[in-house]
Symmetry: C2
Subunit: 301 residues, 2 copies
């Protein structure tokens, strides 16, 4: 549906280069010198792992709006720190009690529960710190807008609230609307915020911003549908985390709700809407954003 | 040492009025409408409790520098949300495993561990959200400065780092220098940040800022020494939390290090330095800040 916009090789090269740049920036900003092993645990939670989808969304949107690269890299790392903290806390025994993440022992398994709790807490604070540098690399209005976007996406009416709904939904027969509302907060808010953070590094019209928000929302929904598909079709080694977890814990998923084939068709349909939003955004350089949407979809095939 | 600067009645009236204003602001900003009971748990963690020392420090400093009241109230509530989130996480079984806080069951006892974890996480995000309103009530440069102050005070080189040191120190024979370094981060950073947040609502010279920072540091240290004294001299009902906890868990304290009488003398000495810092700050209206230092000291007598 969007083939040919950017060739596969070019996108792969862009992705590798940006992933390496994000890794280097995270390594510089998540320093090992925090006391009592906390810095080490924070680095363990953040570095050398993950596809960096959220940072890539920030950076690609930043490029599409000709935004300020230094601000985009800070926002890319900030959103990844929020994501990383949520994984650390999510994996803890009182939440999902997961022992494997990105093929490695989870933070609480490696460093203990108390340190994992503090690691997540400190990563969240660091995310906001990155958005308000004292070196003038981000102007104050941009910093303030970014902090607000991130705080709303991470908080009670964003990610944390979505996780609360998720907790309360175990064993319940959610319908599709309720499931989507949950995921809109739990994973969608941060993915959409990634796009909007990227947009905030430059100057865009309100019409463009609305379409980018729609792109981010569709991409977030597709991401979750694909995630649910992978939970039943992939093995733990491929996923780098425990497969079959959702089914085993009786959590409602798009697959349990609509079946595998329907879920796949739904992911494709939602991704199509993401592409349409970009087409209506008026952005001249949206190739990488199109490619990122395809990339999210390809995880399932 | 500072008697007579502001009469006791006047300070008590100021304190009551400000505590009521903070309570009303927190109640308005920590809304019950976050999903799946999260809003309710957040309000339980935040409202109707505590002496609000940190907000009072923000507001008193804001008044002393003739700062913008709306900004000071947002900062006062933001710092209290960080404090409240740290208590929620600190009380969890993997940390201090405390069941009583301000005379009520702790959040994880009342709402479960998973919800307590999310409650703390969401409160931290909300703290930053309060500092970046979209209604123009805080100018962007002030918002950015405040976010930076709060992020640094809460994070790995502030409160969270101090808690990591605390965890790692159980059973160790810390000397006074190491104990103070730990508390400078664990409780001192946020108390000092409260003063500096208040100062950032107005315009102060660098010399004044330095003395306010010194005041905040001394007050933070005194607070902790007094806290350690209360842990052995007060009962749980008076404290509103479990007394004798530190001694029972073999944590190093100022009392275990120097004895009760010496610890009391040390608290007085450090508070004296806090008053001196104010005297050297050049601020014309520091009466309430003097009274707050005395108030911190009086908790022990």
């Amino acid at each position: 549906m969007s083939a040919g916009r950017v060739d596969a090789e070019g996108f792969a090269a862009w992705r590798s280069a940006q992933q390496a740049a994000v890794e280097a920036a995270l390594s510089a900003w998540v320093t090992p010198d925090a006391p009592a092993g906390l810095g080490e645990a924070m680095r363990y939670a953040v570095l050398d792992g993950g596809k960096r989808l959220r940072p890539l969304l920030v950076l690609a949107t930043g490029e599409a709006v000709a935004g300020r690269p230094a601000a985009a890299m800070r926002a890319a790392c900030a959103v990844e720190l929020i994501h990383a903290y949520s994984l650390v806390h999510d994996d803890m025994p009182c939440m999902d009690n997961d022992v494997l993440r990105r093929g490695k022992p989870t933070v609480h398994v490696r460093y203990g529960e108390a340190q994992a709790l503090l690691t997540g807490d400190a990563l969240q604070a660091l995310a906001f710190e990155l958005l308000v540098p004292d070196d003038g690399s981000i102007e104050h209005a941009m910093s303030a807008a970014m902090c607000r976007l991130l705080a709303l996406a991470a908080g009670a009416c964003g990610m944390a609230g979505g996780q609360a709904i998720d907790l309360a939904s175990v064993g319940l027969a959610l319908d599709q609307r309720a499931l989507e509302a949950m995921h809109r907060q739990k994973t969608g808010a941060l993915l959409q915020a990634s796009v909007l953070l990227g947009a905030s590094t430059g100057s865009v019209s309100e019409a463009t911003r609305v379409q980018l928000a729609r792109y981010g929302a569709c991409l977030g929904l597709a991401f979750q549908v694909v995630d649910d598909i992978l939970d039943v079709t992939a093995d733990s080694a491929t996923l780098g985390k425990t497969a079959g977890k959702d089914a085993a814990s009786d959590k409602p998923t798009f697959v349990s709700l609509m079946g595998l084939a329907e879920a796949q068709a739904y992911a494709d349909q939602v991704l199509d809407q993401a592409h349409q939003a970009l087409n209506q955004s008026g952005l001249a350089q949206a190739d990488t954003l199109h490619a990122l949407a395809d990339w999210v979809g390809r995880r399932a095939s």
